[in-house]
Every structure is written in C-alpha cells, then in structure tokens.
Symmetry: C2
Subunit: 437 residues, 2 copies
C-alpha cells in the first residue's frame, strides 16, 4: 500500500503520532481518570509519556486512576525503548520475513548497515533493558516494602523503574521525588537507572563486550569521560551554589547535601526527576541546569537533547579553532569535518526551534522570561523539569509545548529527513569569498 512509499523517518514519525493518538484516547476514557480529562490534556499527557518528557498539566498520581497510570507507564516504555525495537523484535519472534521497508526503518533507527546487526541490536536493546529494569524493580520494591507494603511497593517500583530507565521523569507524587531527598537507596537506584538508560546502547554493548578501558572504542571512551566530567563539574557547582540556600541544600546534613547535589546534577540530562524544588534554586544553578538540559544524554539512548557526542564535537571544534589547529581532534583521533558539520547543523536547528518556542510562548503566555526559556528547553530536550509554568500554560502554549516535545524526541535528523531526501547537486558552484567574523 501507500505506507510502502513512506521514508523510514516518515514511518517513525507516523508511528510516534499514532502511539500518541492511541495514548490520548486511552487516557481520555472515563476509567483512566477520577475527574474528566480534557482532550488537550489527554494529548499533552500522552505526548509527554511517549516522548519520555515528564512535563505534566494534571497530577499523574491523583488525577489518573491505576488504569490511567498503567497506560502512562506503557506509553513511556514503548516510546522510550522505541516502537522500532518492539516492531523489529516482534517480527523476529513471529518468524515473519522483514520487509524491505521495515529493514530500512531499522537501519535508520540504529545507524547500522547490516540487517543482522540490526536484529541483534534490537534484541539486545530489549533484553538488556528488561534485565536492567528487572533489577531496578526488585531493588526499589525491597527498598519500599517496609514503608508501603509489598503491593504498593511493587506497583510504585514498577512505575518508577520504567519512568527512570526511560528517562521519562514521570512521578506518582505531585512533589516528584522531593520526599526522598535524603533516601540513599532510592536516589542511587533511580540515578543509576536513568544514567544507564541515558548513556546509549552501543556504549553499553561495547563495555559489555570489551570489558577493558583501552579496548573500548573511541566513542565509548569519549562518552564515558564526557559524562564523568560533566556530571562531576555539575555536582560540585550545584553543591557550591546551593550550600547556603535554606530552600534547597541549606538545611541538609553534609552527606545529604552531597546526595541531593548529585541527584540535581545528573537529572537534567534528561531524566527530569527532582528531589529539590527547582524553582527555589539560585539563578546561577538554574542557568547551569539550562545548559545541562540542552546538552542532554547519549545517542541511541532513552535520553534526548543535543547529545553528549554532539556537544563534545562542538567543543573540540571550537577548541581547535581557538588553538588554531588545522584538525579537530579528540582522544588522539581526528573528527572528520563532515561530523563537525553535522554537529553544527544539529545544534543550530535545535537552537532555532528553541528560539522560536521562546518567541511564540513569550507572545502567548503571561510568564517570566526565565520560566519560558526553562520550559522550552525542558520540552525540546524532553527533560520534564519545570519552574512551574506547565500547569499554567494557555491552550496555545500547550500546543507549542506538545510540538516541541515531539520535535525534541524525534530530533533534527528525523525532521530533516521529513522535509527532504538526500540530494547530490549536479551543479558545483565556485567558492564564495565571504567575510566572516
């Protein structure tokens, strides 16, 4: 049929939109919520879940019934691990041959060249994800069973494991994870889940196969190093900036300060949980969080944002320029110019969308500039942190944020494929001599 003629990115986008539509209908059902849910709120919630953002216009814990919450968890799981993985693995299990179209879809999603490798990858993604989630689920259940009882503990463990591993940031409590600010078990389990989920599957597979640092690929070492550096710097800065703020870290013990600073340092890329009141943090911390949200997590992960690899390439290109080096290098490897160009274009596209989002929301919303900037970056990087604007958004504003969440999760690459097919011009124009800088 006509579907055959759709390009892989178009198919991916269509799948996302269908999943959001299905989720919206399910969340709109009377059994999904205690009070009626407006269509726009149902679509917003479904979009937030499928794009693993975590921005909410209604409180997940009190507005939705257990049925509604299970729907949200499943939307997160399917959206996060990717309906692509599900489709490919499902096709393998059913023993059917993968059509040419599906094959191309899979290749697009996993950036691999061989179909075998795609299937292997898809299977591995699913198996390892479920294994990691199982461990997280057991640990969280054990942690919570004494206070909540087995039944409630296992349900909340189920929800939070999915929400954390998929970097969704949905919480069952309107205060997020603030009640657990000093709970080392909950903090370490949840941050471990979302850091593993957000670092990228090729990195995880490389670690699992090679096991030794010097055998890791350049990409793996780069992502691990960059993650370590970014997390450490963010941790120290947030601790420093909030240590004397009585509304955040000020009244905690030294060890609890470290724990909360750690959580707030790692959650913006792009889990979106919070154990502190973000709006009560100092302005400098909030600006730092803005940058962290923009950077985002690893490629081929449940995290979104610009991506760590892209950010490092941009930084190294700038460094090479400032040092006046001819080659852009990192870890004794040269970054090809075409990679730098790709990173540049991704960053520019993201920034243009962020600028447009800020510009439009500034016209439609009656809110401070900071709240709007924060909301737009949070939506575009599918983080889900907010300074409180989400619930007060006008209808136009909700539509804008829905669009940003979808654009942010699909990413500029997919959007690019939607508007154009690769094009090799037959005309090669003479070089221009332009004045720059």
């Amino acid at each position: 049929g006509r579907l055959i003629h759709l390009s892989p990115p178009a198919l991916l986008t269509l799948g996302f939109l269908l999943l959001i539509a299905l989720g919206s209908v399910l969340l709109k059902l009377p059994i999904a919520s205690h009070a009626p849910t407006a269509w726009l709120d149902a679509v917003f919630t479904a979009t937030s879940a499928v794009t693993v953002t975590g921005l909410v216009v209604v409180d997940t814990g009190t507005h939705f019934t257990l049925f509604g919450q299970v729907v949200i968890a499943l939307l997160i799981q399917v959206g996060g691990l990717g309906f692509m993985t599900f489709a490919v693995v499902g096709a393998i299990m059913l023993g059917t041959k993968i059509s040419f179209i599906q094959q191309r879809v899979a290749q697009e999603a996993f950036n691999q060249t061989s179909l075998d490798k795609v299937m292997q990858t898809a299977k591995a993604v699913l198996i390892y994800s479920l294994l990691i989630e199982a461990v997280g689920f057991i640990l969280l259940t054990l942690t919570w069973q004494s206070s909540l009882g087995w039944r409630q503990a296992s349900w909340e463990a189920f929800f939070y494991t999915i929400s954390a591993f998929n970097n969704a940031g949905f919480a069952l409590n309107a205060n997020g994870l603030i009640p657990y600010v000093s709970d080392w078990g909950v903090n370490l389990i949840i941050t471990t889940l979302f850091i593993i989920g957000g670092i990228g599957f090729t990195v995880l597979m490389d670690i699992r196969q090679k096991r030794r640092w010097h055998q890791f690929s350049t990409n793996t070492r780069l992502i691990l190093l960059a993650t370590l550096i970014i997390n450490t710097v963010a941790f120290l800065l947030i601790w420093l900036l909030e240590a004397n703020n009585p509304a955040t870290l000020g009244n905690l013990s030294l060890s609890d300060q470290a724990l909360a600073a750690w959580f707030q340092a790692v959650t913006p890329r792009t889990a979106g949980f919070n154990t502190l009141d973000i709006a009560a943090m100092t302005n400098a911390s909030i600006v730092l969080i803005l940058l962290l949200m923009f950077i985002g997590g690893g490629s081929l992960s449940t995290a979104s944002g610009l991506k760590i690899g892209t950010f490092v390439v941009l930084m190294m290109a700038t460094y090479a320029f400032l040092r006046q080096r001819q080659d852009v290098t990192v870890l004794k490897r040269t970054i090809p110019l075409v990679q730098v160009m790709k990173a540049l274009s991704l960053a520019m596209t993201s920034m243009l969308l962020i600028f447009l989002g800020i510009f439009i929301l500034d016209a439609t919303e009656n809110a401070t500039f900071l709240n709007i900037v924060f909301e737009v970056v949070s939506a575009m990087s599918t983080v889900g942190l907010s300074l409180g604007l989400t619930g007060q958004l006008s209808e136009a504003g909700r539509v804008v944020v829905i669009f940003l969440m979808i654009a942010g999760r699909l990413g500029p690459l997919t959007l690019a494929y939607l508007v154009a097919r690769p094009h090799k011009s037959r005309i090669r124009y003479a070089d221009a001599s332009l004045q720059i800088g």
Copy 2:
C-alpha cells in the same frame, strides 16, 4: 624593543587597553564631570566609549561636563574607526616607512594581502568616514538649529553624528532619543548613519566602485540582501507586536508607528540608540531584539556582534543539512567548509562567553534572568541597549560587563590569536567514528 615581538592581535588588544586607560584617566579628571567620578565608573565609561557599546553607569548628559563629553566623543571616534586606521594613515601622512610589524598589524586588521591595498583601504576608511560624518553633522545641525540654536545644535550634531556613525549609541539625554520618536529628520539621519557605518567598508567600497548590482561581489550582494531581509522582517514583527502596546507604539499615529518600529528594528545591530522604552516592549519583541543584537552588523564595520556574514553562513549550513545537500551554497556560490567551520567556532565562542557572563552575573546580581541575559548580549555585541540593569550593577557586575564589552569588540578571532599561534600538527590522527545526534 619588546613590542616588536608582540603578535598583531596582541598589539591591537594592547592599543585598545591603552586607549581605555587613557580615557579613564581623562574622565576621572575633576574638569570632566560635575560630581566626582569613581574609578570603576570612569573605566566603565571609557570602555563603553572605546568599544562603541553605549552602556552607561552615569548619565552622559548630566554627569559629565562638556570636556568629559568631548573626551567620550573622541574615544568613540578613535575606538570606532579603529586606532589601526589612524596609525596606518598617520604613518602614510608622516611619510615614514611602515615597519614590518605595522605592516602585519594592518594586514591583520583589513584582511588584505598587499600592503598597498592596506594603505589605500586605511585612507579610504578615514576619508569616506569623515565625509559621511560631515554630511550627517550638517544635516543634524540644520535639523536642530531652529529649536536649539546654532551653537547647541552644532555641538549635539557633532556628538550624535560620531555616536551614530560609530554605532556607539551614546546619547546626551538620559531618555536616549525617546523625545525624537516622531521626528522623521532625526530618525532618518541617525539610522542612515549607523546603517552605513555598520554595513562594512569593503561593501561600501564595492558599491562605490562597481555601482551595478550584478557587478557587486557575492559578499556585497549577500550582505545587502541579508541586511534588507533582516531589517524588513524585524520591522514588520516589531510593528505587529507593539501596535497595541500603549507604552510603546499604541498611542502613535500610523506613520509614526512605522517610523518607531523601523528605528527599533535597525538599532539592535548594533547601534543601541532607542526612541522607545525598551523595557516597556512586549516580551516577544525583547526576545527578537536579543536575536538581532546577537547577529550584529557587517564585518569590518563600526558594528559588532556575530556579524551578518557569519550568521548567513550558519543559516545556509543548517539549511543545506536540512535539505540534505552536500554543498553549502548561497547566491550560486559554494561556501567552503573551512568558512563554515570558522563561522561555527565564532558562534560557539560567543555563545560560551555569553553563557559564562549570564552564569556569573546570575550569581553576583540581584536581577531578573531577562535583564541579565539582555545586558550580557548587549555588552558582548557592543549594542548598548539595556532593560535598566546597567546602573544597578554591583562592582563585580561592572567588571564582568567591562570584560564582555572588550571581548565583544575585539572579537573571538583576536582572542583566539591571543591564546595561540597558528599551529600545524605534524601528527595526523586516524578518523574517529563518533555518534552524533
């Protein structure tokens, strides 16, 4: 002596710093102001004048005496037209041979290869600038003589001509040009002066020599087209966004609305005058102005910012990526990758400095995020518009803004030369395969 060993950019920077030091001492003199001027305020004012920014911590018209105001005008003229031009032309006039070092300085500044061409350019810059300023001075004097009398009219015309042509944005009135919001003569003379000053001398020379559109260089046509498009879009958007705002355009006649919208659309790149109360504009307009300030004017002009050419290259690179074209093209010319890399690096360096400025001011100042972002972008692009923060800056904040104005005017290229010499590595590392996006 030792000066011989300084690189051209270091010499340029040193010259700037010496000019600022000289200006600070002159402005600190008792005869320069009616009330004593603090050292930090003198340095701030001198820096703002030499970097043609126009941010002020004391009111130019009431705090400084005529002597002080003349000092400010001269600092603007020397800083704006460039002490480089003065030095080169001065050397020619004195008939002395230009030393090898001066030759390299001149080449660096004008991006030309032959010394003869440098001298020609330097001479042309000075002659045409003074000619244009002379015309502006006469027209403004004639405009103001009926209301102010010849003496005061000629003095104000002298000051505003220098301030406008050099894109400095200094005004003799605390309200800027707000009193002239409906004055077509003043508006058209001053916008023409700062647009000509800010478009770049090579463009002006090209227009003067070729006279016909199809003979213009690609660079000239690109800059003219981009300027036209950016100014037109900004003009229409600001008119639209402010038409119903009683604090700005709302109470003006339709023709005066057009005039004021035009003025506010062209002043952010990077003249910095205002005929409306910027702080009273809608948030959407302010966000648009932020973008315009960031873009800035033409290369080799009295304007600063990222520069129009750089912005266009970034836009075309992103467009090529989204359309999946192999070559980045504009006006049927290919933009070499090395140009794109340069544009990318300039933009990244500017954005890093802007981010750092926002981060630090957020820690040192008690101000809204918007006011801080606006102040930092305005200082870094040497625009001089403000939402009112400048006068309330802490001492630390003033130091940060002084640094931003100098960094913004010298530009990332000069800063790059200061930290490193061109470096061709003997080692060529193997290509890395990194995940991006």
